[in-house]
Symmetry: C2
Subunit: 330 residues, 2 copies
C-alpha cells in the first residue's frame, strides 16, 4: 500500500468538474502536492462551478473552460494526463424530472464522449470516476453494500448509472484502469450554498451563517456524510491503489445521523440559526429514498483509507469557510 | 384472468417497431383480432424493418413512418391509443461498441422522448415495453430471475437498461400503466435472416434453406428461446392483465438448448444445410455472456401464459415461412 503522496509531484493530472465543489477541493489538494493540474469545467451558471473555488491555489492550476464531451477542446489535456479524475456532473433530482433530455446531455452523453476520447487518446491513463449512491434507490437493506440492487429513483439516477456503466464497461472490455466511487452526501468548503440544488446541507449552512431559520423536510431519515477533505484523500488513495482498478466502491465516512440530529448539531456547532420541521413536499416525496447509509468496508480495505474528521469538526470547518467567504457563494 | 381476446376488437392500438420482426407479428395478430392498428416504424435500412412483414394483413394496418422520438409526427396516434406496445429498438452488440453514440440515439434517447410524449398526451394508456435479458450480463446463477444483478455487457445493454428504467420510473412516479418484458432469444417468421445482426438464428435459417453450411461459434453455450407466436400471445396477455402493471418480467419459453443441440435440431427439422463449429472470435468473446436461461414463472402466473410451440415445431414453421418468402428477406 502506497502512502507516499509525493508521487503526485509534477504528475500531469486532469480534474473534470474541477471548478465545482468536490473537483475544486481535489484540484487544490493536487496543486498543493505539486501536481500539474488541469481543470476541465463548463463553468455553467446555476450549478456547482465557482471561479472562487480555484482562487489562489498553492501552485498554478490550468482551467480549460469546456464541456467534457467537447473532444477537440480537451483532447490535448486528456492525452497528456497520467491520472484523470472525472468528477463532472450535476445532481438535480427535480430538474431531471422536468428536463430529462437536458439531464441526459449533461450527465450521460458528455460522459460517453469523454470515456470514448480517453480510450482513443490515452487508454492507459489512471481514471477515477465519481459516481453516486443515488441509483440504489430506496434501500432494501441497511447498510447498503455494492451488491445492493440498482433501482434509480429519478431520471438523474438513470443517467448517472449509465455513465458509471460506461466507465466499468470500458475497464472490462478495453482493459482501461478505471475505478468508480459511489459517493453519498458530501459536504464542506466550496459546496453550493445559495440554494439546495447541490446538497440540502448547503442551504442549511447558509441559514446558519445568516442566523435565520432553515427547513428540515421530514427529519427522521437517516443519512451518512463525507467531509470533503476526507473524500479528496479517498480519491487520491484510489488512484494510488492498483487493487481498486476495475472496481466500484461505496464511500461513506461519518456514521449516519437523522436529519433532525444533523440540524441540531449544525445549529449547536454554528452557535446561530435555527430550524423548523416541515412535511415532505409531495412532488419530492415521490422520488425520495428514505433512510440510507452505506457499507464502505471494501473501499477502506482496498484503498487503505479512513475518514479523519468527525461530523462536528467537518461542520465547524465548513461554517468557518463560509463565514470568511460567503460573498463568493451567495 | 381475462382470456377473452375479443376485447381487442375495434381497440386503437399503437405498435412501435411494428415493421420489424416481433412488432410486425404482433401488429398482424392484433389486426386479425379486429384492432385498429397503427404501426410506428422508422423503416431504417439495415435493421429489422421490412415492408413485406406488413403485407396483406387480415385487416388494414396503418403505417406511420417515423422515429418514435419524433413527437410531432406521432403525437396524434399516441394520443388516441388505448394500448401501446413499444417494441422499437435495435440489438446490435458489436455495432454499439463501435458507434456508441448512434446506439444511444436509437435505443435510449428515442425512448425517453417517446415515454415523455405518452406521459403528456396519453398518460392513462396501457403500455407494454419490450426489454431484454441482455443487461443481466454473464449470469451469476441459473435460471436467471428478475432479481439477478444488472451488469450490461456492452453499450447496447446500457442503453436498453436505461430505456427500461425510464418506463418503470414513469410507472412509479406518474402512475402510468406500464409493464416491461425482458425478452430472450426470439425467433420465427419475419426475423431478419440476411445476416446475424438481429439474431444468430436468422443467418442459420438462411443457410438451411439455401442448403449451405453455417458457423456455430463455441457451441456449448446454453440459451433459451421464444417462438414469436408464443411471444405475441404473451404481449397480448400482458396488456390484458392489470396485475402486471408496474412490473418487469422475464419471458422465456422453450427450455434451454446448447447451440450445438439447436444447430443439430435445425438441420434435422430442415432436412438441408449443415454446420461447422468455430472458435469464438476474440472481439465477440469479450462481450459474450456464456450460458443463459431464465426463470419466467412470475410472468406465467401473472399473465396466465404458457408457450404452445415446442422448438421443433417453431423451427418447422419458421423454415416453411422462409422457404415460401425468402426473396423478401435476402
Amino acid at each position: 500500500m502506497n502512502d507516499d503522496f509525493s508521487v503526485w509531484r509534477d504528475r500531469p493530472v486532469v480534474v473534470t468538474g474541477g471548478a465545482g465543489f468536490i473537483g475544486s477541493n481535489l484540484a487544490r489538494r493536487l496543486a498543493e502536492l505539486g501536481a500539474q493540474v488541469t481543470v476541465i469545467d463548463r463553468m455553467l451558471a446555476g450549478y456547482g462551478a465557482n471561479m472562487f473555488n480555484l482562487a489562489l491555489p498553492a501552485n498554478p492550476i490550468s482551467l480549460l473552460e469546456s464541456d467534457i464531451g467537447a473532444e477537440n477542446a480537451i483532447s490535448d489535456a486528456v492525452t497528456g494526463a497520467h491520472t484523470i479524475f472525472n468528477f463532472a456532473g450535476q445532481t438535480s433530482h427535480m430538474d431531471s424530472m422536468q428536463q430529462p433530455l437536458e439531464d441526459m446531455a449533461l450527465n450521460q452523453i458528455a460522459n460517453l464522449r469523454f470515456i470514448e476520447l480517453v480510450r482513443r487518446v490515452n487508454p492507459g491513463a489512471r481514471l477515477v470516476f465519481s459516481s453516486t449512491r443515488q441509483f440504489y434507490g430506496p434501500p432494501q437493506y441497511l447498510p447498503v453494500d455494492e451488491k445492493h440492487p440498482l433501482n434509480p429513483p429519478d431520471i438523474n439516477g438513470i443517467h448517472k448509472l449509465a455513465a458509471e456503466q460506461y466507465h466499468m464497461l470500458y475497464a472490462r472490455v478495453y482493459g482501461m484502469r478505471v475505478t468508480a466511487l459511489r459517493l453519498t452526501n458530501v459536504y464542506g468548503p466550496r459546496m453550493r450554498i445559495r440554494d439546495a440544488k447541490q446538497t440540502f446541507l448547503g442551504i442549511w449552512v447558509r441559514h446558519v451563517i445568516e442566523n435565520s431559520a432553515f427547513e428540515v423536510w421530514g427529519g427522521t431519515q437517516r443519512r451518512d456524510f463525507s467531509y470533503v477533505e476526507d473524500l479528496v484523500e479517498a480519491a487520491l488513495r484510489t488512484a494510488m491503489a492498483d487493487a481498486t482498478i476495475g472496481h466500484v466502491y461505496n464511500i461513506g465516512g461519518h456514521p449516519s445521523l437523522t436529519l433532525d440530529e444533523l440540524a441540531e448539531l449544525l445549529v449547536q456547532v454554528g452557535g446561530s440559526g435555527s430550524f423548523i420541521r416541515k412535511e415532505f413536499p409531495a412532488e419530492r416525496k415521490k422520488i425520495d429514498i428514505g433512510d440510507y447509509y452505506c457499507d464502505d468496508s471494501a473501499f477502506r480495505a482496498a484503498a487503505n483509507w479512513q475518514p479523519r474528521f468527525d461530523m462536528a469538526e467537518g461542520l465547524r470547518r465548513t461554517l468557518a469557510y463560509y463565514r470568511a467567504n460567503k460573498h463568493f457563494y451567495l
